[in-house]
């Protein structure tokens, strides 16, 4: 019996309509699940140089062994395809209820190839899989799409993933949405789905997940839930600070926002607004499957319809666009979710246009007569409509971030982006852990896949040299991180320098980022939400993950085994990028952010190119990748049982022994 797994990979070819199933056991030992399955299968199935919008691109939805179980935060789905934004493997992780339902139907990965010749949607009901006509559904927003499919299937319990009009119209940063406000927003996964003429995937399953040692598994999960309870406030990020977007902006150290907050001296906002407009269901709070963090606010604003908001959706439409009106924020956020747009990307694109407009580099002649002044809510909403329709000035902002400047026909610096994905809402420059995370994030965009969250914040001033107050020092993660910092501090002292390492120093950053990247890969592959782990100081450590996986599968798994799988998955993702011609040169940040003084409340320092290169050296060394090229060495690939990748590298002439 396939303990903890659905047991099958589901392959659907939209060209031929062929539906195939393959046992998961071919992949589970080496690749864990979720992100691991995606990395391996995309590498196997996609040919070098493929246009991401070509029918041959492979779109994957994978879940992990924890998905659908009692593990805290077990509702995640990892989405991947070759990204139209980056040209390498795109990846985005979403919560909600679709993943568990997919597991209960008996599957671990959905692998979609081809392009349907007319709009279709897929329905999965346990063993029955069908491709259906989506004629009456194409064009509907993401909330209505889900309703229409549930109605058509006559099944109110079907869980639906879908794209909105933005994905249908192939805007570069279209999202995949489920329920209200659960989105795989980054790297254009909704765009790839739209290019396949695939509107939605509905799933219903009743098979459940078998657990090998259910007593031990239950005990471990109850213990983990209990250990989270005193810490839950940490993850309800929308309640932090003074409960308003400007103060979160300042907490996140966003340099654009801190300037704006100072100018406007804004106070108050979110909490009174939420109190006034919260949805009665769930007391205005909601979350994902089997999660007690419940990090999302649930509103129902009269005349606007319901909206579920996690912390990141607050940032783009407020501080990036210098908008301080909560109703305008609501209208923008709601529009993005219904139309299926990544809020962070669209906010970054519009912020770029607004800055150019305010500097008079562009005028209303360029913007179809829209007055793009900072915070102009009406203009923002109008522009989003134009973006979704790929119309006029909207068409320029709807495309790839790297082409936006060129399309305006002027010598203009491109919108802030990392590896082709518009930069997120946090300031990645305000301490080195974030800088490093953003630098090496395999999907670009932000720092969330390249750092350890609470465990890489070395303190400042007299607290330097120790993990900050947010970290749990007794956890495996805390101790391991401290050991890395201690070793670096000893080396620094031996070299005659100041022994302490603070959060603005570069030493030990590379090694800590390598560890952080592996820990996140473990969570993304097991199917657990990072917000439920040590990443956000929420009790659940890799020690728990190893024990719960052992109890669940009946096969003992150690922490080292999980880290080895993560190293393999990272090497595999990197191999995909290397095959596309990616080297260490592409691990970089927007020129505007390097070597520049950052205004705001956080330490005013700068990161030089030399700093970045030194941290990258340390990171590649810790990952076992070649320093010159930034790609995994043959020695590493062979030790990770990736001999086929090693031999591909040899054929391509990019093979490095050490």
């Amino acid at each position: 019996m396939a303990y903890m797994y659905g047991g099958q990979l589901l392959k659907i070819d939209l060209d031929s309509g062929k539906i195939e199933k393959e046992p998961t056991s071919n992949y589970q030992d080496l690749w864990l699940g979720g992100r691991g399955f995606n990395a391996r299968i995309l590498y196997e199935e996609i040919k070098k140089g493929l246009d991401p919008l070509d029918p041959d691109n492979v779109l994957m939805f994978s879940i992990g062994p924890f998905t659908g179980t009692l593990v805290p935060g077990a509702g995640r789905v990892e989405v991947a395809a070759k990204s139209p934004a980056t040209g390498i493997q795109g990846m985005s992780n979403m919560g909600g209820y679709w993943g568990p339902e997919f597991k209960y139907a008996g599957y671990d990965s959905l692998i979609i190839t081809g392009r349907a010749n007319r709009p279709v949607y897929i329905t999965i009901n346990n063993d029955r899989v069908e491709i259906r006509d989506a004629d009456g559904i194409w064009g509907l927003d993401t909330y209505r799409t889900q309703d229409a499919i549930r109605k058509e299937l006559g099944d109110p319990d079907a869980e639906v993933l879908c794209i909105g009009p933005a994905g249908e119209n192939l805007i570069a940063y279209a999202s995949v949405q489920t329920r209200v406000g659960n989105a795989a927003g980054r790297t254009g996964m909704g765009t790839v789905m739209g290019s396949k003429n695939l509107k939605a995937i509905a799933v219903r399953g009743t098979k459940g997940v078998a657990v090998a040692d259910s007593d031990r598994f239950l005990k471990l999960c109850l213990g983990a839930l209990e250990s989270q309870k005193p810490l839950l406030g940490m993850a309800k990020t929308t309640d932090l600070g003074d409960n308003d977007p400007p103060s979160w902006a300042s907490t996140l150290g966003n340099y654009e926002a801190t300037e704006w907050v100072e100018q406007k001296n804004l106070k108050g906002g979110h909490m009174p607004f939420w109190e006034k407009h919260k949805n009665p269901q769930g007391d205005g709070i909601t979350g994902c499957f089997n999660c007690q963090v419940r990090c999302m606010d649930y509103y129902n604003l009269n005349g606007y319809g319901p909206l579920v908001a996690s912390c990141t959706i607050y940032g783009g439409p407020t501080w990036l666009l210098k908008n301080s009106d909560m109703k305008t924020w609501y209208a923008i956020a709601s529009k993005c979710q219904r139309q299926g747009i990544d809020t962070q990307s669209v906010s970054r694109m519009i912020a770029w246009a607004m800055e150019l407009y305010e500097q008079r580099v562009i005028t209303s002649n360029d913007t179809d007569g829209i007055h793009l002044t900072w915070g102009n809510g009406e203009a923002i909403l109008l522009l989003i409509d134009k973006i979704v329709k790929q119309e006029g000035f909207g068409k320029i902002l709807a495309g790839n971030v790297r082409d936006a400047g060129k399309k305006l026909g002027k010598d203009i610096e491109e919108p802030l982006n990392i590896k082709g994905v518009p930069l997120g809402v946090t300031n990645v420059m305000n301490f080195r852990a974030r800088t490093m995370g953003a630098l090496i994030n395999p999907r670009g965009a932000d720092e969330y896949r390249g750092r350890m969250g609470t465990f890489d914040n070395l303190g400042s001033g007299s607290g330097a040299g120790h993990m900050t107050g947010m970290a749990s020092p007794d956890s495996w993660e805390g101790k391991t991180a401290q050991k890395i910092a201690d070793t670096a501090m000893a080396a620094k002292k031996n070299a005659g320098g100041d022994a302490l390492i603070g959060q603005m120093d570069c030493e030990s950053r590379g090694e800590l980022a390598a560890l952080g990247q592996k820990l996140i890969t473990v969570s993304d592959s097991l199917g657990q939400c990072k917000w439920n782990t040590i990443f956000l100081n929420l009790g659940v450590s890799i020690e728990f993950q190893a024990k719960a996986l052992s109890a669940g599968t009946g096969k003992e798994t150690r922490i080292e085994d999980l880290l080895e799988a993560a190293a393999r998955i990272s090497a595999q993702e990197r191999a995909f990028a290397a095959r596309e011609g990616f080297t260490r040169e592409q691990d970089t940040l927007p020129g505007k952010l390097i070597n520049s003084q950052i205004p705001g409340t956080w330490p005013e320092d700068k990161v030089t190119v030399e700093d970045l290169e030194k941290m990258k050296d340390d990171y590649y060394r810790a990952m076992g990748w070649n320093l010159k090229t930034g790609i995994p060495t043959v020695d590493l690939l062979q030790s990770l049982k990736l001999d086929d990748v090693a031999s591909d590298f040899q054929d391509m002439g990019i093979s490095e022994k050490k």
Partner: protein
Amino acid sequence: MANVIVIDTEKCSGCKMCEVACSLINTKECNPERSRIRVVTSQKNGQLQFVPSTCMQCETPMCELVCPAGAIGSDPATGAKIINDKKCIGCSACSYACPFGAIYVDRKLGRAVVCNQCEGDPICVKVCPSGALQYVSHDQVNITLRRLGSKRVLMARDMTEEITEPHLEIISENREPC
């Protein structure tokens, strides 16, 4: 006289943790389909509604009365229903009779199952993160329900005020027209 799991539907955020924990402890697998408590979910245009549903410990248990095999009895300590596996024929008469559909035939086992209150310490109540479930002794049930009722009255008043609020335009003042 029975203890009761009292449900505050408005607090429920639909996470299904009760279903996962219940199925794990009772069936050794994680499977909401086999959970003795279910969160009935409805979604319309972004409006989510969750109604947890389990055995309400009826004073006149219809399930017991209609059972053709005489398979249903009660635990003397908690009042929870007990189903005699040897007698149950899996006919679903109890499911049809139950006002809540809370007793049902587990198709894997081929016999009826219902909430057994985990021997006086229901795991659904223990894990519920939103406070939507309370385990209440028989003499506290009525006042608990009254408290929930009065809360609904107050909330309805709040909502009436909300509806009378004028619809505000999203456009802020001092803006150039587009």
